[in-house]
Symmetry: C2
Subunit: 657 residues, 2 copies
Amino acid sequence: MASSMTTKDGKPFERASLESLMRRRLFYTPAFDIYGGVSGLYDYGPPGCALVNNVVDTWRKHFVLKENMLEVDCTMLTPYEVLKTSGHVDKFADWMCKDPKTGEIFRADHLVEEVLEARLKGDKEARGQKAEPEVEDPKKKKKKVKNITAVKLDDSVVQEYEETLAKIDNYDGAELGLLIKKYDIKNPATGTELEPPVAFNLMFQTSIGPSSNLPGYLRPETAQGQFLNFAKLLEFNQQSMPFASASIGKSFRNEISPRAGLLRVREFLMAEIEHFVDPEGGKKHPRFDEVKDIELELLDREVQLAGKTSVKTTKIGEAVQTGLVDNETLGYFLARIQLFLLRIGVDPKKIRFRQHMANEMAHYATDCWDAELLTSYGWIECVGCADRSAYDLTVHMKKTGTPLVVREPRKEPLKVEEYQCDIAKKAFGPKYKKDGKAVEAAIEALSQELREKLSLELEKEGKITIDVPGVGDGKVEVPKDLLTIEKRTRVENVREYTPNVIEPSFGIGRIMYALCEHSYWTRENDEARGILSFPPTVAPTKVLIVPLSGNQDFKPFIREVSDKLAEIGISSRVDDSGASIGKRYARNDELGTPLGITIDFQSVKDSSFTLRDRDTTKQVRANLDEICKAIANLVDGREKWADVASRLPAFEGQEVD
Amino acid sequence: MASSMTTKDGKPFERASLESLMRRRLFYTPAFDIYGGVSGLYDYGPPGCALVNNVVDTWRKHFVLKENMLEVDCTMLTPYEVLKTSGHVDKFADWMCKDPKTGEIFRADHLVEEVLEARLKGDKEARGQKAEPEVEDPKKKKKKVKNITAVKLDDSVVQEYEETLAKIDNYDGAELGLLIKKYDIKNPATGTELEPPVAFNLMFQTSIGPSSNLPGYLRPETAQGQFLNFAKLLEFNQQSMPFASASIGKSFRNEISPRAGLLRVREFLMAEIEHFVDPEGGKKHPRFDEVKDIELELLDREVQLAGKTSVKTTKIGEAVQTGLVDNETLGYFLARIQLFLLRIGVDPKKIRFRQHMANEMAHYATDCWDAELLTSYGWIECVGCADRSAYDLTVHMKKTGTPLVVREPRKEPLKVEEYQCDIAKKAFGPKYKKDGKAVEAAIEALSQELREKLSLELEKEGKITIDVPGVGDGKVEVPKDLLTIEKRTRVENVREYTPNVIEPSFGIGRIMYALCEHSYWTRENDEARGILSFPPTVAPTKVLIVPLSGNQDFKPFIREVSDKLAEIGISSRVDDSGASIGKRYARNDELGTPLGITIDFQSVKDSSFTLRDRDTTKQVRANLDEICKAIANLVDGREKWADVASRLPAFEGQEVD
């Protein structure tokens, strides 16, 4: 799959060229580089930062603005108690093995994978088979395993290794420990036996305040802050359901040994939506009709369990109807996620939606679909869309006693037929004395079934005997004059329920990296000239302003064009360096700048300028107002370059490809 | 000063009413409220979050876009080594005293202040003087000091207390300890003697990675990431100086006992600019001319040292010319800061620029002016504008050995006349043997003055004697045949220098809070009806859409208006609750929504709508295109309401104040 990665013009994709470009042009850079760096921490330079800002801005328009979501900004510092309740203190962990000699630490599942895969590769070599082109998977293989030579394995061993690898996400620490023993897996570099796997919690711990008695963590997700504010958000939304909150912010994950560049990092930007919905009535969505005919590539749980990865192209309306996707709200968001990804420029042929297998889901999820993007590292999870049911609201409500529920008047009062027990209070006390309360509680706790049976008995025998643990011999007799059991109708005017949560959760850094892979190609006539064809909407800088030369006459025009663009909110950069026009444009092709304005001697004469399109290298010529209007249209997505090129006169005066 | 705080319509400002409004309308809320909260941590709800986003967006346009700054996004997690070098590990601390019995912790300077101020107040009461209206200062008084009764003090004691208070920012831990002893200051609540002050570092500490050998902190400022990337940013900027980087992100400060709401918090959003400038040539700024006539209210160091707070209204051009403000670049940013604050709606009468006193500056600063905004808590530092000189780049360069310098070709090669020493290497070794290197180094280290003197001596005596510590008796004789000292001209074609940094640093949360105070007033006819008059550019939601009633005929129009606004990037909210139109508008006045569109029966007939202005409650009526155009103009600041009201027909059909 990944080995067949091609660029949009059909040439093989070269990851090394793209990564070299991205570092050279400062899309990102290892953080603290001059101090030797810290793995899993990256800084975004100007083009990366602008690209992320534009992706986030588009996200906010696409989701928050369009759907009137309630955006919140909650703190990253989170006290222990909250994450203990949410389950993260106990369950947000990976298994690690330590080398007792060197102190080196391995993530246990990755280690087993690496070693078994290396042995299988050695086996193939020994059998004289050509190894398949390597497909790296950032969740998996990480390190070249050294000192493995071509050793032939028994057929039964090969089969066992392959089955183990297929189930690698299933194993807990003890099981991984057994595998490590069974397969005699050691530190691949030194051959030292490792300590058994221990759980390593992935949250960064700290202490809040001057005394050390308030431990806290950096949040592992933005979701908890949204859940804790649920009651206030519902109030803000004037008690109206369904509604969604949203949050954009950094989260943290103390990876055991992060590799794979921007795909596995310790500090990352997330955009998360928590859509609160009534669990009754099939979790309908009011705008589902708008998306129902959108086709998605779905890879469901059953197909994966059968060991396959074939996707089905399915209209989301059908997928919901057949139950493949559980409900309208989940389906609505899957479609909206795809629309968002397409809007920012992701390649439509490199998106699929994969359903999580039961053993793979986070501790809070009851169902989950990932939007995966195809990259040279394989299919990468970039957006998760989980049904967290009522898990989080329920545990926080239970812990704090704060009602995190919706109370709504019923349109039709609910009539409940039930057996009710009435106690003759006045006579009850004198009869049972200190045991009165216990007897009363035992009566209150009787089930409807028992009440029905006892009501007949009471009628017939004039008394009943009930279990009251701790009173006398545990059996207490209640006579008819102290108790009435009757079938009556109770009318309920208010309905109280804990909403379910559908959570689309976006990893912005991963999306950005995949977008860069999808946008990268090279000029037909020159492999060394890379281009990042971002759509104008998300491109880091929209316009490059290039004066033909350093001539003083161009200076006032540079300022005029630059100020005019800033005024209409369009980001531009001036390149008045001495380099040739071609070189200056080439640099900006690498930065993904979609448009260029050249200032030449004609501009000085008649205030006309040329506008150049990055992808076609074609140019048009017009006055500044016309040029700015075209730029604004291109950036807002109202026009394509073809529209502009057909409207405005072409300019072919000089070649600036 | 603060006691005379009035709203923009001249009524006394009531902080309690504003804070109640802000919490009720979910501008902000204590974080983890249902778990009892954590002091100094707040979440922003939908209107607060949107307001902050809009302020940040305006900031980005005003600074980053307008001035082509290089925006970066660096990690918050920062390894120990970096912050040790920057000085934060050693110097970013406050002094705290612990109550050994209760474990309660006090910030030492705040405690001394509180107690002395309470005693002075008691003295005034005892003298029968009316206490001045209290002006709270969030940097200072925090807790009501209990059990202080009206006790008259000696005149000399009063004077001593007052002098101590005036210098409170000067004292270090030992001095604070002496004051606490001298003035017999104890835990005000219990009377227990406190432990002596100890330094408490204000950074949150954590550990990066699975082994505990990489300690780290959450950054206390965004600046360090920008400094560490200096060389790459200079390269990105094609070696061109001056330039600025910028960063918007959260920073952290583990306050000892945070109070004063949003003004002193443990996690906060900063927007920081690092403008790198050549220290030679007076730190000129190319666009200074554009701002030179802007008038600022300046409160300089001298005035403060004289114990006064009178400001001088000064054109920034003059202030730079007279040296009151050190240089053009600093002056340029002070003016641009003011323009930004005005653009987002800060009251022009409530801004001043205060110069730091020498003892008050951060450890890295050589000069600093704060933009302070007047609030009910007093004058609050909201933007710092510091000259960090070459401090940070120098320490990081020294520590890492990475050159953080600018190398630029000199226009005119620099000719340096100097005495150069040439050693006869071949003969040198045999003569001095193992001491050769030491003697050579001693010669290399000779100053120009000494070289001049020695060259004459060498000529005259045929030998010289120089100091070489550790060789023989520390004196070594060098004969003429081993050494030549000559005056020659060296030509330097490249100039190398470490840039200075001017740093405007914005506390977005404080600015937002001050803006809310400045924007708050109440309807003339109803004290209970609060209004937040944010400019449309930064208002959380731009438009409220209100159908006259729940009539089904209005539904398609609600969707049409709402979608149309989303399409042009304008945030709106629908209120189709059953409440009266007046009530719905009143709610949105509190949210600061500047505009309202009413959908009525006329709308159903002719697709016309009314547009209402929050501040005047006046309305106009027009078709949707006209209405949307007016809204876009108001939001972008191209039109004021008065312009719209004069263009479009007034509507007076119904009263919706």
